[in-house]
Structure formats: C-alpha cells, structure tokens
C-alpha cells in the first residue's frame, strides 16, 4: 500500500500493485518504512500544534509589516520616503548604443 496526497493535504491510501510471496515480503518492508515516515509526520504535526496553541492573532504580525515596508526607499513607487538615487533614472538617460538590439542569435 502506498500513500498519495490530495491538494487539501489529506493522505489517501492507495492499493499497491503486485502478487505473490516475493512481492509480499517487499511490500512488508515498504509498509514498515512508510509507517515510520507517518509516525515521524505525526510527531512534527504535534510539535506544530503545540506552537500554534501559543501563537497570537494575525493582527499582531501585521503590525510588524507596515514599518518594514514604509522605511525603505523604493525606486518604483511614485511617492518616496527617502532620497532619490540619480542612478535609478539611468534607464531613461541618453539612448543606448542601439535602443532595441534586434540581432538574432542563430
């Protein structure tokens, strides 16, 4: 038996393909390995659940975001919170050696 994930993160058992005692033996090892993986996943999920129990609401996280954005000068914004760097306008200064080099790479 193998597992597959659906898009909502749910695991779905899938039938394995194979017949005979040789495949049963191979199947047993594979199932044991997958079981070990699942038990590990359970531990990780339990840890995450304990972390989430201690977390605050999203609003506390959003408060950090605003100052982070507003203290930086951004050359692509129409309103700046800082000094203009003249190099930002190099894209419009003079003309390049050929405005749109159109030579084709063959």
């Amino acid at each position: 038996m193998v597992m597959a994930s659906s898009f909502d993160g749910q695991l779905v058992p899938q039938p394995a393909i194979g017949v005979g005692t040789v495949v049963d033996s191979r199947g047993k090892h594979r199932i044991l390995a997958e079981l070990k993986h699942l038990e590990q996943e359970l531990r990780y999920l339990q840890e995450e659940l304990e972390e989430v129990e201690k977390m605050g609401n999203i609003s506390s996280v959003c408060k950090d975001l605003l100052p982070c954005i507003e203290t930086k000068s951004d050359p692509l914004l129409p309103v700046l919170n800082g000094v203009v760097n003249p190099l930002w306008d190099r894209w419009f200064e003079g003309s390049p050696s050929s405005p749109d080099c159109g030579c084709w790479i063959l």
């Binding site: 044991l32 997958e34 999203i58 000068s73 190099l87 050929s98």
Partner: protein, 375 residues
C-alpha cells in the same frame, strides 16, 4: 507483525495524520482575526496610485528565437541571463540592450538559469536532469561554444529551478521534478545536501521554485500545493510546511525583510505567508468577469515590498499593492507589453527596474519614468 496487521496500522496512522492536519487548520483559522489589507485600511493607508506613464517599458531585449522560460539579474546593476526554448542562455547588458554571450546548452530543453553573485558564471538546467555551469571568462571551444565548466549531476528528474547562495559563487540550490532540492558544491560537483526525497519529510510532488534568504534558509514551492521552509544545515526535514493553495505552487519569493515570503499558484492566487507563525497574511486574487482563473507563473517583490509583481499565464502582469491587496496596474495592457504569457520576472539589484520574460521570445525592462514625490 503480519502484512495485514501492518496495513491496518498504516491506515490508522493515515487517519491520525489527516485528523491532526484538520485540527491545525482549524486552530490557524481561529487566529485569523484580520489580514494585511484590513489592518492597513484601519491604519488609514491608501493604495499606491500610478499615473498613466509612470511605469513604462524602456527596453525590449530581442534575440531568443523561442519562448523565454527563466531570467536572473546579477548582483551588480545591469546584466541579465535568460534561458529559452531555443536551447540557449543569453547574457544581456540590460542598459545597452547588447548581448554579451549566447551560450548553446548541451541539452536544449532548458527550464531555469541563474547568475552567480560575482557575475562571472551562469548556471542552466532542465530536462536533462543536470545543472550546467559556465564560466563567462572562459575561451570558446573549437566549435565556438562556451564550454561547460562543471556539470552538477544527481537529480533523478528535471531541474525546474536554480539559484546561487547569496555571496557564494561555489554553492547553488536546485529544485527538481524528482521532488527534492539539492545544495551543490560547485567546486567538486557533489551534492552537499538533499532536501526531501523518499521517506524524508519533503515535498510529495515536483519542486517548481526555490528562493534563498541569507546563507542558511530557503523556501521551495511544489506541485503538491505547499511551500516548505528549509534550513540548509538540516536536510532531514523541512522546518515548516505552508498549506493553503488549492493548486500547484509555481513560484516562491522571499519578502525583502526575510521574515515573510510570497507564493503564486495554479489556483490563480498569490499569497503572503509569515515565516515565524506560518500564517497566511494575505491572499491576492482578482475576480474575472469571464470566470477564468489564470495561473500565476512568476512573482517578485519591489525592493521595499510595497509592490508585488505577478505574471499570469494569460499574459497579464499585475502590480499588486501588497498592503492594500489591490491590483494597481496591469503591465500586460500597457503600451509595448508582451504578446504572450509571462513566464518569469525579476527585479534589478537596486530595485530600479523590473525584467519580464515571455513566450513571445522577448524580455522587457520596466522602470519608473514619472515624477516622484518625496515625503
């Protein structure tokens, strides 16, 4: 224990994992008292307002003869490497539009490229399952081609994405259709670490995108609809898995402060996640009158993070105000825009220009040409 008993335990374990995931989802939902846009509005923030000729296409880089799939800027200001279905990497001086190198790849089916931090090398990878490194200062071989200086072999599937570790020309991270990411030592050509893979806590479908922050942290996005945070020193398990998307995650990009990251997906949305808590801070989604839901192919943040650029499969290139979650401009409808889907985009190192690559075989450079107001 018999096989049938093991199978019963297996089914029980799957049920417990699913149940725990539902509990986690519910716990997180209860903490969703707001999102970034609602919070920003409550603080009196107003959306970014562009004039008609503020963001303009100031260069069209022509030269590829096939769809452009990937691009990357150098750490210094003006050079770009691009990868195309024509089987070539081209290195451009974006300011002059000149091509400095046209590199024929050993395998023409390239999907990704990257510039080294020093600007001396480029990397390209794709359906051959390897990543090829080229030193731009090497002399051409007898056939006039730039030789491969190192081949990074080991993936068991196509290489979908690659990025150099910041400030380190000797290390690169790749993502692959074999569901793993790999940290490579380019000097030796060997794998330093493999992230995910069979029976490890990693992606369960193809990896499509990676984004690195600092020297120890990266995010991967996958067709398993998740993004995962990795510590490069701990390959055995992802530090965290981020759920929420309903389709393939095609693109991931760190937010400028490194504490958040953005994603773009086949479900038509972009999302902003908080790394420390795992919360989805904001969903960016535009309703269409024709009920279509174009896939997001690529994203990039402006240098402050106030703008989120998102390329879509239908040719749109939305400029999102990340704070107010409003689409403030569509580069896809501007004068001189691309004539096909946008597959890749990226900001120059100083944030003054955006480069977009498209199925129309061109790259375009966009910059702010209007009058700035200074606060």
């Amino acid at each position: 224990m018999s096989v049938s008993e093991l199978k019963e335990r297996h089914v029980a374990a799957i049920e417990m994992v699913n149940s725990l995931r539902e509990r986690l989802k519910e716990k997180r939902r209860l903490l969703l008292d707001t999102d970034v846009a609602a919070f920003a509005r409550s603080q009196g923030k107003r959306p970014v307002c562009f004039g008609a000729t503020d963001l303009v296409c100031c260069r069209t880089l022509q030269g590829h003869t096939g769809k452009v799939y990937s691009l990357d800027w150098t750490s210094e200001r003006n050079r770009i490497v691009s990868a195309s279905k024509d089987g070539r990497l081209i290195v451009w001086n974006a300011l002059t539009s000149q091509k400095t190198h046209a590199i024929k790849l050993p395998c023409p089916w390239v999907m990704t490229c990257a510039f080294s931090p020093s600007g001396q090398s480029v990397a390209g990878g794709g359906l051959d399952s390897v990543c090829s490194i080229f030193n731009l200062n090497s002399p051409n071989d007898r056939d006039g081609n730039l030789p491969v200086s190192r081949t990074l072999s080991g993936h068991k599937g196509y290489v979908s994405c690659c990025q150099y570790v910041p400030d380190d020309d000797n290390h690169l991270i790749t993502g692959s259709g074999d569901q793993t990411c790999v940290l490579w030592d380019i000097t030796t050509g060997l794998r330093t670490s493999v992230f995910g893979g069979e029976f490890q806590s990693g992606h369960t479908a193809d990896v499509s995108s990676v984004s690195i922050s600092g020297s120890n942290t990266f995010i991967s996005g996958s067709c398993d609809a998740t993004a995962r945070l990795w510590d490069t020193r701990v390959a055995s398990r992802a530090v965290q898995t981020f759920h929420g998307h309903d389709g393939d995650v095609n693109t991931v990009k760190f937010f400028p402060d490194g504490n958040r990251f953005g994603t773009g997906s086949d479900d038509g949305t972009c999302r902003l996640y908080d790394i420390r808590t795992g919360h989805v801070l904001q969903v960016y989604h535009q309703l269409h009158s024709d009920d279509t839901n174009p896939h997001v192919t690529s994203i990039a943040f402006s240098i402050s993070g106030r703008l989120l650029f998102a390329g879509y499969k239908n040719g749109d290139c939305y400029v999102w105000d990340t704070l107010l979650a409003q689409m403030v401009l569509n580069l896809g409808t501007l004068h001189n825009s691309h004539e096909g889907p946008i597959t890749c985009l990226g900001l120059s190192a100083d944030g003054s220009a955006l480069c977009t690559g498209s199925w129309d075989s061109n790259l375009k450079i966009w910059a702010f040409g209007g009058q700035r107001k200074v606060n």
